[in-house]
Each structure stands twice: as C-alpha cells, then as structure tokens.
C-alpha cells in the first residue's frame, strides 16, 4: 500500500493480506478497512483464520503476501511504531502467574514507556473497572479463570492503546463472567478502535459495530449485524420442537429444504418459501411427535449457515 493510497480515516487497513503455513492457506487475501473508534468483530469457527489475522496485524506473524497498516504505519516496515499504539489480549490468558495484579499491570504499562505514577493511576482505574481491586495484591495464579481473563484484558488497556485487539476475550468463561466481560468491552466502545475475534454469535451481535464473517481464511460477509441479518431477510426460519426425530427423517427433510438443522429438542428449517403443512405432514408420516412450531427471527447463525452451509460451532 503506497502512501498515496493510505486513508487515515481508517485505523486499520489491509490489502490482500494472506498467510500460508506450508501448503495450508490460513488467511486468503483479506481486504479490510476498519474505522477509527469502531468495534469490529471477526466472527468465524475455530481455524477460520481469525487469530492468524490478528497476529499479522499485531506484527507477530509475517504475511505471506499483502500489506497491513495500523493508523498509517506499515506492520512490516515499521513494527515498533505500530507496537507503540496497539495492545493485544491474546486468546490464552497471558499473565505472569507469580506476580500480583498490580505488578502485572505495572509490567505492561511501564514496558510501553509510561511513568510509575501514570501506570499506578491507570491501574487503579482498571482494577476498579474489572472488579479486581480487592484481590489486587494476591498472586494471580490464585485467581479464577474469569478473574484472570479480566486481568488479561486490563493488561491490554493499561498502555492506553489507540487500537486494541481482543482475541476470543470470553473463551472458556462461564455465562456470568462472559456477560461481565461484555459490559467492560462495551464501556470502551467509541473510545478506542477495537478488533474482537469470537466464535460466539451473541458476542458479535451485542458488541460489534460491524462484523466480518470469516471462513477458511476468507471474508465471506461484511456489514453491521442488522445488515447481515437483512441480507437473508427474504428467508423464513421455522423452529419445530419435536420428539422421535431420527437422522433419516432430518435427512429426508434436507432433500426438500437444504438448510435444515438439528437443534436441542427439535429442528430449524430455513428457506425462502416454507410450506408449513407439507413439513408437518412429512414429520407426522415419519412418526415424529410435534410439540410446538414457531416462526423464528433471523440470527447471525442463520446468516453463517446460509453463507457456508454449516453451523458456526461445527
């Protein structure tokens, strides 16, 4: 990307960025333009290329081809300038286990060049924000998974980065901790440019300004959550709660409605035109006991299924 083509409205720009590992193409020619202050989610299943993309943007992986800029700085030509303005909360909990929360925050703040007093002030705010003040002096190896994750996010914030990368920030957390973490991330919206990777649909739907759905290293859809859902608004989704469903019955239904999927205690069928009577008659003829039927709102999972032919959690 030449200087002439750089657009400083964007916090992050990538041009045809790719990464191969041997013959395996992890990221395949991604073009992204992420606005300043935007919370941008990369949504996709495990192995889709989300973390590889993040690592390339954080100067931790060299792209096989293509370029990326963060606030106008080329990630390959000027990594130190990029590292001055970014921070990352990696997928795995990245903390120094033998240090306490204060020391962990101090390590990250001061390594980024902040003074002792400034780091102390920011640490106080962050510990308060993440609900860790009371246990800030304990060695963090004694923390629960949720507390470690919150500290990990706080460590990415202590350097006050312009661009924050959160790689699967709620992975492995219980629902309560996950919701708590979402609230903390939501508080940062607009203040910083945030790139979030996730394979939780609700996370992307609730938090993101825009979502890129990524599969097999390629971006297959990009837009706001509503835009993505609207893109298949001409589709109908029918949820059927039923008993005695067999694989053969579901397979038979798929012959007519390819986007039929099994859910807990039933099935969901998506199509442009659904023949309600035909479906009910078919199921009853196969001995299925129908408990309830309902028309369902389109979700991002439906979008993903529609685009890729598979469910996000597969």
């Amino acid at each position: 990307m030449s200087d002439a083509t750089k657009d400083y409205r964007f916090a992050i720009q990538t041009s045809n960025i790719s990464r191969k590992f041997g013959d395996f193409i992890a990221v395949d020619g991604i073009d992204l333009s992420i606005n300043r202050g935007e919370l941008f989610a990369l949504l996709g299943p495990n192995g889709a290329g989300k973390t590889t993309t993040i690592k390339m943007l954080c100067c931790l992986l060299r792209p096989s081809s293509g370029t990326a800029t963060i606030m106008g700085h080329d990630t390959q030509k000027d990594p130190i300038a990029v590292k001055q303005i970014i921070d990352l909360s990696p997928q795995e909990t990245a903390i120094a286990e033998h240090l306490n929360a204060w020391e962990n925050l101090s390590l990250m703040g001061r390594i980024h060049g902040f003074g002792k007093e400034e780091v102390k002030k920011r640490s106080e705010e962050l510990l308060e924000m993440m609900g860790l003040t009371n246990r800030a002096k304990e060695q963090v190896r004694k923390y629960s998974g949720g507390m470690k994750r919150r500290l990990s996010i706080a460590m990415a914030l202590v350097s006050d980065p312009q661009v924050l990368f959160l790689d699967e920030p709620t992975l492995g957390l219980d629902p309560q901790s996950r919701r708590g973490t979402w609230e903390h991330i939501a508080e940062l919206k607009g203040e910083k440019t945030i790139v979030l990777t996730t394979h939780y649909l609700e996370e992307a739907d609730n938090l993101a300004d825009r979502i890129a759905i990524i599969d097999k290293g390629k971006i297959i859809a990009l837009g706001t959550p509503d835009e993505l859902k609207d893109s298949i608004s001409d589709m109908q989704v029918m949820a059927i709660k039923a008993k005695n469903l067999t694989d053969d019955t579901v397979e038979g239904l798929r012959m007519i409605y390819p986007e039929t999927r099994e859910v807990v205690n039933g099935i969901e069928i998506k199509a442009k035109e659904l023949n309600f009577n035909e479906i009910v008659d078919y199921l009853r003829s196969k001995g299925v006991v129908i408990e309830s039927t309902s028309q369902k709102q389109i979700t991002l999972d439906d979008v993903f299924l529609h685009l890729t032919g598979k469910e996000l959690r597969e």
């Binding site: 690592k55 954080c58 100067c59 931790l60 992986l61 060299r62 990594p79 130190i80 590292k83 001055q84 970014i86 921070d87 990352l88 909360s89 990696p90 997928q91 795995e92 909990t93 990245a94 903390i95 120094a96 033998h98 240090l99 020391e103 101090s106 390590l107 990250m108 001061r110 390594i111 980024h112 060049g113 460590m155 990415a156 350097s159």
Partner: protein, 240 residues
C-alpha cells in the same frame, strides 16, 4: 531502558524458582567439599585446579535457569503479549540475561571463597581468573538464550544435559589428555576447555594476561557468538 522493567520481572521470577537457585548456589559448594579431599592423591583435584571447574559446573545452572524462564514464557501466551510491546529482540535478550549476572558473581565468590578455606593458593593474578570466568559465565547465559529461543520448556533440560556433559568432558574435572588427542582437539574447539586452561594457568603457573590471551579471546568470541545467535533466533521467533 524499557527492557529493565522486564528484567525486574524476570529477576523476581528467578528468585521464585527456589530449586534452581538453590542448586545453582548450593550444588557447586557441595561438589567442592566432596571432591577437594581427593587432592591428597590426585593433583587435578587441588583447590586451584578444582575451583575453575566447579565454577563452570555452577554456570551450567545459569544456562538452564535462564533458558527455562525464556522457554516458559514462550510456551505461555505471556510472550505474545510482551512481543506486542515496542521492544527489540536485543532488549528481550538483555531482559532475560541481566538477572543472572549477579548470580554468576555470587557463584564465583562462593566457589573461590570456599576454595580459599580449603587451602586455595594462587601464583597469578586472581583478577584475571575472575575476568575469564565472568566472560565464560556470560557465555553460559548466552547459551541459555539460544536454548530458550530454540527449544520448548520440555526440551530445555536436554539442552542443559548436553551443555553439562560438554563442560564436564571439557576438562572441568578431568585432564583432557586422558581421553586422547582426538577428543582433546574436539573439546578445544569449544570455549569451556579454554576458560579452564586460562584460569588454571594463572593460578597454578602464575601466567599473565598475555600468556592466556588466546584462551581469553576464544572464550570472549564464543560469548559474543552465543549472544548474537540468541538475538538472531529470538528475532526469528518474534515474527514468525
């Protein structure tokens, strides 16, 4: 001097590894006490001959401990986070090496202090001996950086064992001539035998710096190479 912040953390981490630290300090002293009585029948085990070998034996623990901390951080996600900080590979290598310098000095003081109590006599300048051994200790730390950059946490002990054997068979406790000239030639390519020869020549034969200059520069050259290699390998790991 941002790397000093990371060095401080590594210093704490090192002190929390009681076992490695205890072995690095205690084992050489124990070995010295066990082996020195043999000096009555074998001159190789006189305090002047033994102390440099025991010092090198102690330095191997520096190689082990420094590579373990680096490899452990590499294996965890912590290093990924640290790598997003605006530090260069030489900053990281400095931060992971610096905490071991005071330990190397304490080891030398301990080994030579105990050796003095056991009757160490020196014909030459002990300052030269300390200089050569200090450079060698840095070489071991440099080797630790190479092993830590190259190997996983689980592989590091194999690198340690290799370096330990090379040190022992490099003349720490044996006269290299015992194994024949072929073996001696191979071991003379490495720096360990040169560090030992230089230290022993100064203490036993009263050699001056000019007499041991070749050995000194041999050790210094290897130390520089080990650190340069550590930085190179770490840089390769920084951006894969």
């Amino acid at each position: 001097m941002r790397f000093m912040i990371l060095a401080q953390r590594n210093f704490k981490e090192m002190f929390l590894d009681y076992l490695s630290l205890g072995l690095a300090m205690g084992l050489p002293v124990v070995m010295l006490l066990i082996l020195s009585p043999i000096s009555r029948v074998e001159v190789m085990f006189s305090p002047a001959n033994l102390a440099p070998g025991i010092a090198l034996f102690a330095f191997v623990m520096l190689q082990f401990s420094s590579s373990m901390i680096l490899a452990k951080d590499r294996d965890s996600a912590l290093l990924s986070r640290l790598l997003t900080a605006p530090l260069k590979s030489k900053d990281f290598i400095s931060a992971y090496s610096l905490p071991y310098i005071p330990i190397a000095i304490i080891q030398m003081v301990l080994v030579f202090g105990i050796a003095a109590l056991l009757g160490l006599e020196t014909s030459g300048n002990l300052g030269i001996v300390f200089l050569v051994l200090f450079i060698m200790s840095m070489g071991y730390i440099g080797l630790g950086m190479v092993a830590g950059s190259l190997f996983t946490y689980k592989q590091v002990p194999y690198a340690y064992t290799t370096v330990l054997l090379l040190t022992i068979f490099g003349g720490a406790w044996f006269d290299l001539a015992v194994f024949g000239s072929g073996f001696q030639s191979v071991m003379n390519v490495l720096p360990f035998a040169h560090a030992l020869d230089a230290a022993r020549d100064v203490m036993v034969q009263g050699a001056g710096f000019s007499d041991i200059a070749v050995d000194f520069y041999w050790v210094l050259g290897y130390t520089i190479v080990f650190f340069a290699l550590g930085i190179f390998l770490f840089r390769r790991r920084m951006v894969e």
